[in-house]
């Protein structure tokens, strides 16, 4: 098996706030192989967005402080890289999409301008991207970048792309703006795409379209994806693998079918159980008792222990590490869980 494209090892991150330092990422472990689409799920505050931002080193570092841990991309530790080296990677090797299409495009500039600039920035390190020889003039490069932008717009299925290339962001609808942002993220032909809640801000009907588009683009460009979301439905539709996060660390991970059919961590099971189903009786919604822990003063040992029905003494003594699920429970390889009491019961899902 070839080396993973992205490997996060024991990542620790502290954030300084008014009331103290919060241990927001506690030993995140993740291996993302080439071509895999990983969904990172968890409720608000679990640290999934920070994980995504950390890969691109976009977390502002005075209030944030990285402790031990590594983020290996193509074997190189991103945490050790200089800003100049990171800039080379952004856009060209690692692309990002964020949640709100309304605020993520600069309102005063035409989208052609924004697309062209991203393409040119990526082409600064990989001139073959534009298809023009390295010694080409700035004007030729611009023209090539513009042609590339048009091509991308057509690929993300913007109707009348040629006419709309020079439009301003406010002239597009929400769903179309997100497509434009996808085009921008992919124009540099990155190897890894990090999508942070890409469909959350969209209407339900548009969500499906955008997800389908993402799936197609991922396939066409043979990309690897980190899809951050709180919506298990999205994960089920679009991902090949899933990692469940709670309070700053990954508690369960593996192939998506596997984890969703046979969840072993109590939190994963509770999450799945909490999804409303059509055949449920009224009032039968199951929440998870308790609240997320205070990350400035986190509970000792397993962070989920205070809310866990199966918590015992040992749970509070030590933080459980990710271990492969016992083969008696798992149907396939790659399913891992961080729990001292992986439960041998099938979930109803």
């Amino acid at each position: 098996m070839s080396a993973p494209l992205l490997e996060i090892r024991d990542l620790h991150l502290w954030m300084r706030s008014f009331e103290g330092e919060a241990h927001v990422l506690q030993g995140v472990d993740l291996q993302v192989g080439h071509g895999e689409v990983w969904g990172v799920v968890g409720e608000t505050g679990c640290g999934k967005s920070l994980t995504g931002l950390s890969v691109s080193r976009l977390v502002p570092s005075p209030p944030a402080r990285y402790g031990r841990g590594q983020i290996l991309f193509n074997g190189q530790d991103l945490l050790q890289m200089s800003e100049a080296q990171m800039r080379q990677l952004r856009g060209g090797r690692i692309g990002m999409i964020f949640q709100d299409p309304t605020t993520n495009l600069n309102p005063l500039f035409r989208i052609s301008e924004q697309l062209v600039d991203v393409a040119l920035a990526a082409a600064a390190w990989r001139p073959e991207l534009l298809g023009v020889p390295a010694g080409a003039s700035a004007r030729e490069k611009r023209r090539a970048a513009r042609a590339l932008s048009l091509e991308m717009l057509e690929r993300v299925r913007i109707p009348d792309a040629a006419q709309r290339l020079d439009d301003f962001p406010h002239q597009f609808s929400g769903g179309m703006r997100q497509r434009v942002l996808i085009a921008m993220a992919l124009i540099g032909r990155p190897q890894l795409l990090i999508a942070d809640e890409p469909t959350t801000a969209l209407d339900v009907s548009v969500q499906a379209q955008v997800l389908a588009l993402l799936r197609d683009m991922v396939r066409d460009f043979r990309m690897t994806v980190l899809l951050i979301t709180h919506n298990l439905g999205v994960v089920a539709q679009a991902c090949s693998h899933v990692a469940v996060m709670y309070a700053g660390s990954i508690v369960e991970r593996g192939p998506v079918q596997e984890v969703m059919r046979r969840p072993t961590h109590p939190y994963t099971r509770a999450l799945l159980a909490a999804i409303p189903r059509r055949e449920m009786a009224r009032g039968a919604l199951e929440g998870i008792p308790g609240t997320v822990p205070d990350l400035i003063h986190p509970p000792p040992g397993c962070r989920f222990a205070p809310r866990c029905a199966r918590a015992q003494e040992g749970c509070r003594a030590q933080v459980p590490a990710l271990e492969p699920v016992p083969s008696a429970l798992a149907a396939g390889a790659g399913h891992e869980v961080a729990c001292f009491h992986a439960h041998p019961v099938e979930a109803a899902c």
Partner: protein, 299 residues
């Protein structure tokens, strides 16, 4: 996209108002500049109040001259030297403090009063009264302040009172607009209460209930405006409007001293510095106050 953190706080509850005050005061004291501003302003106020008594040569403030001692450079007897009439520049500057501060204060008070009244009525009454009053204040904004003040002062004639009125005429629209906005915001809450307090007449509602609550932003604006009011007073004095000799006024002192440059530089430098320091002090103070009362300010 912001850092997601959950930080439930578990502190002793404190009254919100008191807490805001303490934090504000703390913030104010932290800023060395604001404290400096407070110091300068206090000094100014002191000079304004007791200047004429503390001045080393009070007779010069009355117009006495001492031609034998003309144009003496700064020395132990005359810290700021003497001017073309032998008057002690230091005493004159101290005396000028009184004029500038009091005139500036008068301008700001008058402008705030007039503006608050107009804005209050406009916001409260609404409808075409509001429209009319706002058009009126907009109109005033078509002429830059100094020019308007000049024109009005020229029409009214010389004298400090006319000058104050002339300048206030260009200040009140700012307050009118501010107060109107605040009144509009509060009108809704109080209508319900008013409906219940049957028989309370609108004028009373406005004066007794709404306006006092609107005072904070007005006071902040007043403190911010003081500096510029003093500057305007000095500017008009420089042109020759307003104060008539022998009353010392920084601007007019500077204007007279111009002809004696550069040989007798002290006759101009010290009054000029005084203007600068006064305005600077008030601006620092106003800036600091604004930080305290309106944390949204740029920082």
């Amino acid at each position: 996209m912001s850092a997601e953190m959950s930080t439930p706080s578990a502190r002793r509850p404190r009254s919100a108002g008191r807490e805001a005050w303490r934090r504000g005061l703390y913030r104010f004291a932290q800023s060395r500049l604001s404290v400096l501003g407070l110091a300068i302003v206090s000094l100014l106020m002191l000079m304004a109040l007791v200047g004429p008594w503390l001045a080393p040569y009070p007779e010069h403030l009355e117009g006495a001259v001492s031609t034998a001692a003309r144009f003496q450079p700064p020395s132990a007897q005359h810290w700021f030297g003497t001017n073309e009439m032998g008057q002690d520049v230091f005493s004159l500057v101290m005396g000028g403090a009184r004029v500038s501060v009091l005139a500036g204060l008068a301008v700001v008070l008058l402008g705030a009063l007039a503006g608050t009244l107009v804005g209050g009525i406009a916001g409260f009454a609404g409808g075409w009264t509001d429209d009319l009053l706002m058009r009126l204040s907009d109109l005033k904004l078509t002429i830059p302040g100094l020019v308007l003040a000049m024109a009005v002062a020229a029409a009214l004639g010389p004298g400090i009172f006319n000058m104050v009125v002339a300048i206030s005429l260009s200040w009140w629209p700012g307050y009118a607009r501010l107060v109107r906005g605040e009144v509009l915001a509060r009108k809704e809450d109080l209508y319900v209460t008013a409906a219940r307090a049957i028989g309370a007449r609108p004028a009373r509602l406005l004066l007794v209930h709404i306006l006092p609550n609107v005072m904070t932003p007005v006071i902040v604006k007043m403190s911010l405006d003081m500096g510029f009011a003093i500057l305007t007073v000095a500017s008009l004095g420089f042109i020759g409007i307003g104060v008539k000799p022998p009353t010392p006024e920084w601007g007019s002192l500077l204007s007279v001293a111009r002809s004696y440059m550069p040989d007798f530089w002290w006759t101009a430098i010290f009054p000029g510095l005084a203007i600068f320091l006064a305005v600077f002090g008030f601006n620092l103070l106003g800036d600091g106050l604004r930080d305290v009362f309106d944390p949204r300010s740029r920082r």
